[in-house]
């Protein structure tokens, strides 16, 4: 028996567009996009809860602190 659980999600048009866009761009299913989003959210939450900061770096090595 599978230990997976199902969840029904209702998305507004903007969220639906984002889901479709990412699914197409990454060539993965919409379910895979949702799973990736959850995993990333959990990771970022765990690290920022520990006091770490999320930083993006552009090609000129300019760092931008992402405030969450």
């Amino acid at each position: 028996m599978s230990d997976k659980r199902a969840v029904l999600v209702q998305l507004n048009p903007k969220e639906w567009d984002a889901l479709e866009h990412l699914s197409k761009k990454k060539d993965i299913s919409k379910v895979a996009v949702m799973r990736q989003a959850l995993r990333l959210y959990e990771l970022i939450d765990a690290r920022t809860t520990e006091g770490e900061k999320l930083v993006f770096e552009d090609k000129e090595n300019k760092k931008e602190l992402l405030v969450l």
Binding site: K26, D27, I28, S29, A32, Q36, L38, R39, L40, E42, L43, A46
Partner: protein, 198 residues
């Protein structure tokens, strides 16, 4: 946690012996493994010049568990044989883009190591072989389960580069963006199919 029966090679007898591939190593197992590996390392490293030590000598698996083990994005694999962990793999299922198959998604092997008593560079009589290969197979299986068709990438320590080449992974050269400037390797779908036919 899931357990799968696998085979690794007992070097002294040359026979394949049963072992357990664990997906979901616990903090207790990570702690016990770290202690056992540290103890063995202390014994083996005596008399070996520091430049010949395994590059992953300083890795702390209990710390890695605390940082990644509970997160849904990570799979913590271990191969148990004789009630001792023979190898460990920490795999990230956060997708990255393949550097070979344009636009395709891959998963990433963050850390992979075999027990000190299985390393040829430490002992002339390693206890088990094929441990690394079983862990590479676990990465391929996980990639398939995630819809990545066997593709995964990793940055290899210098001492392990030849092993990953022997698995059929493509060597894409030194990654200038990597903190330690390690070489980056990728397993393609085709190479995965050769290594572990579906």
């Amino acid at each position: 946690m899931s357990k799968t029966e696998v085979k690794i090679k007992h070097q002294a007898s040359g026979k394949l012996v049963p072992a357990t591939l664990i997906n979901g190593v616990s903090i207790r197992q990570a702690d016990l493994t770290q202690r056992a590996w540290d103890e063995a390392l202390m014994k083996y490293l005596e008399g070996i010049p520091k430049e010949d030590w395994p590059e992953h000598t300083g890795w702390d698996w209990k710390r890695k568990y605390k940082k990644y083990g509970r997160l849904s994005a990570y799979h913590f694999f271990g191969i148990e044989c004789n009630s001792v962990m023979q190898g460990l793999l920490l795999l990230s299922t956060l997708f990255r883009t393949s550097r070979i198959d344009d636009g395709k998604q891959i998963i990433y092997g963050a850390y992979l190591a075999t027990a000190p008593w299985n390393l040829r560079q430490l002992t002339n009589n390693p206890q088990y072989s094929l441990v690394g290969s079983v862990l590479v197979a676990a990465a391929i299986e996980t990639s398939r389960g995630e819809g990545c068709a066997g593709r995964f990438g990793l940055h290899s320590l210098k001492q392990s580069e030849q092993f990953y080449r022997s698995c059929g992974m493509s060597d894409l050269g030194v990654d200038g963006d990597h903190n330690d400037r390690l070489r980056y390797f990728e397993m393609t779908t085709l190479a995965a199919e050769k290594f572990l036919p579906e």
